[in-house]
Symmetry: C2
Amino acid sequence: MRDAALPIDDRGLAYGDGLFETVLVRDGQPLLWDHHMARLEMGIDRLALPWPDFEAFHALPAQCGPGLRVLKLMLTRGSGGRGYRPPEAPDLRWRWTDSPFEPSPGRWLEGVAVRCCELRLGIQPRLAGIKHLARLENVLARQECQHDSIAEGLLCDSQGHLVEATAMNLVWRREGRLETPLLDRCGVSGTLLSALDEIVEFDWVRVGLDTLLAADAAWLINSVQGVWPIRRLDDAAGVCLKQWPLESNDTFRHAAHRLLGYPLNLGD
Amino acid sequence: MRDAALPIDDRGLAYGDGLFETVLVRDGQPLLWDHHMARLEMGIDRLALPWPDFEAFHALPAQCGPGLRVLKLMLTRGSGGRGYRPPEAPDLRWRWTDSPFEPSPGRWLEGVAVRCCELRLGIQPRLAGIKHLARLENVLARQECQHDSIAEGLLCDSQGHLVEATAMNLVWRREGRLETPLLDRCGVSGTLLSALDEIVEFDWVRVGLDTLLAADAAWLINSVQGVWPIRRLDDAAGVCLKQWPLESNDTFRHAAHRLLGYPLNLGD
């Protein structure tokens, strides 16, 4: 149902017992739809939810308004069960909404400043990769970067390994190779990252901040915002750790923006 | 508001960005109310929520029906913000509901069987202790113990330290001392545990399963169910690790049940 309220006993609200997807839609055409549905399927499998009506989901993008929109689809285990214990035959509940979206070309072209978060992500392989509703870590991490000059917060896990930004994946280039953190113990498996993984070669790595500081270039990416080159990285106290020069021919961003139908150059 | 629905953009639903309390109420009188409100305050502080109208909360138990009830109070950061980023001046939303409750005297007196969960809790000091809405780990852990013969699932953290059961705290007696796991890195600080901490002496410990297996007696406790002695502990595959005999004079259970107004003996 579109925009409909949820009852107070919905398990998505009570426990974060559900999933969501946030999809870029251009004139009724979804971008990276197959990747969004694949991640949703992975989440359904991990949470042991019953199979939803995917046909109904496939019909949603066409119902979005004209122009550039963000379609948000939420799927919860519905109501019932005894406390945390899920009902044996859950009656899934889903909702969707769409809203207009304007990307930030300034961030594509001039890059962004990013701050390391103090918060470390807990290691939880059972929830790693999927886009579940229990995202309070992301909220607390984002709270650390309230200043408008900081575009995103960078997150490590509780053992100090790089993972992602609060709402974006992290990619960098080092010694000519593209590297990105493994997302098997925490973090979200972004759909733009998955789509890029099919056309460029990533080294999936478990490394600390030092490796990123040795990179020649670094980017934050997601399927709605596109690619933001990281211009400056600060520590949690706001002290600059590293600055990267802008690259005149950012082939990585070009590859990603082709997937999203975003312009490749300023004048486009 | 009582039982009212929540809009789809509520941050409690979207991200687990909120808190809850589940309070035992007998004929309109709440049990351990001050401890519930203290934990709620701790959560408000950790999530940096604005101060809610506690006077309105204090008036809720009297509005519950007669007899034994469970009052559930939920407090969310409301709507708004940009993605994970909270609004600068959140407009808190709260809801409550109450339902009849029947405890399980059979479990008080005969004890319960408990299974070790395969899931390990992620270490997240920023969320440890508080009763936030992002409880998907608890749901997945509870899913591992669907069989009716298993009353609860026992949880360790990602480093193998004992923490709690999915919805109850864990206490044991070893060499004449009461021990209970530290809750500073994950788990929920139970209100019955907090109340007991004022009248009995606990050793707060960071230990593995071996220490529990060396205990003379062990209990699961919470402010609604009271105290369940653990009769048997199985590993995640269902193999029995330990059986404890029932204690004829369970002074620990008596102390806890006095706090909840539960009967101390079978015939009471």
